[in-house]
Amino acid sequence: MPVSLENSQLIYRALKSCGIRLLSALPETWLVHLIHIAEDDPQMTLVRLAKEEEGVGLSAGAHFAGVKSAMLMQNHGFLAAINGIVSFAHLYKIPLLMLISYRGAFGERDPWQTQGGNVTEPLLRALNIPYSFLDAPTSVEKRIHQAHALAESSLQPVALLLTRDLMWVE
């Protein structure tokens, strides 16, 4: 599978160095290595969800308990989580570190991913969610730390879009 193991490890190490100890996830192709790494890490609580919106509740519960968490999802999972993001994370000022695989953008060959790709950034902007991109190995660690810092200081959801350039090895 041409998903970059090296860059997945880079992302995971950055999450760990932010102090993330709980990760909620729903599998998707680009996230396969990240989920396996989390599974093999005894320090990480990996929660496999039925639907991404559950992850908002998981992260809120962890935040109340003083445990740092992050969410791994595809952009269609982000769409599925929007009510929870608005009516829980925004309403109650819950920090969320959302790592979202950005399917359906330039280079996408799967027709079924393309609509979600079109609306991802417009929706993030409409929801006033600060976001940035993980697109090069050199900036991954810094950007994850910055996103985490902003989520914690502003007590709000922050998104990092995992791009094809970083995740996929052609």
Partner: protein, 193 residues
């Protein structure tokens, strides 16, 4: 048929040492009418996510008993949550579902439990190790007390009347509740977390 308020009153003192997460609407208004406590968090929207929040708390604080006060309307919006709870089976999580067969807070429209959907059977089939359905305050009190004293994930479905208070807004601010709840957890001694 029993009233949810009578159920809450019967277990109110047992909730003191637990972390309690509720759904929105009539239930938190009734619980607050008995007296708010800093260990109560009322999720006044995001229907369906009270159980997910309880799971996040229970996994993060294994020495704390966490109680989710759910409802049929909310749980039906996030049935997948039962499969996630069952997958991780936190020993310190008690999931109570008040089933009034109605979306009471928004006009009393009947939910699918009024036409035969059995939430206890769904919970059991999802893999929740212990489940029961109760319809008297005595039975409710007994099973809840047992569940608080013993370890193990459990779903208790309490069949209650579709009645509630006239107003749901209380003078407790949403953010006030949220920050107070987190501060309460921070104040717990490390060994009880």
């Amino acid at each position: 048929m029993m009233l949810r308020l009578d159920c809450l009153r019967a277990i109110y003192s047992d909730l003191e040492k637990c972390l309690v997460v509720t759904i929105m609407g009539a239930l938190p208004a009734e619980l607050q009418s008995l007296g708010h406590r800093p260990n109560f968090f009322y999720l006044q929207h995001a229907m369906g996510l009270a159980s997910s929040t309880g799971l996040g708390l229970a996994l993060s604080l294994p020495a704390q008993k966490v109680i989710v006060l759910d409802g049929d309307g909310s749980l039906l919006m996030n049935l997948g949550s039962l499969s996630t709870l069952a997958r991780y089976k936190p020993k310190n999580l008690l999931h109570i579902v008040f089933d009034n067969e109605s979306l009471l807070s928004v006009g009393g429209f009947p939910t699918a439990t009024s036409t035969g959907t059995d939430l206890e059977a769904i919970a059991r089939a999802a893999g929740i190790p212990k489940t029961c359905t109760v319809s008297t305050v005595e039975d409710f009190t007994t099973v809840v007390r047992q569940a608080i004293q013993h370890e193990g994930l459990q779903t208790i479905v309490a069949k209650v009347e579709a009645t509630g208070p006239k107003v749901f807004v209380t003078d407790l601010g949403l953010l006030e509740n949220r920050f107070q709840f987190r501060r309460h957890i921070q104040s717990l001694s490390p060994k009880s977390r």
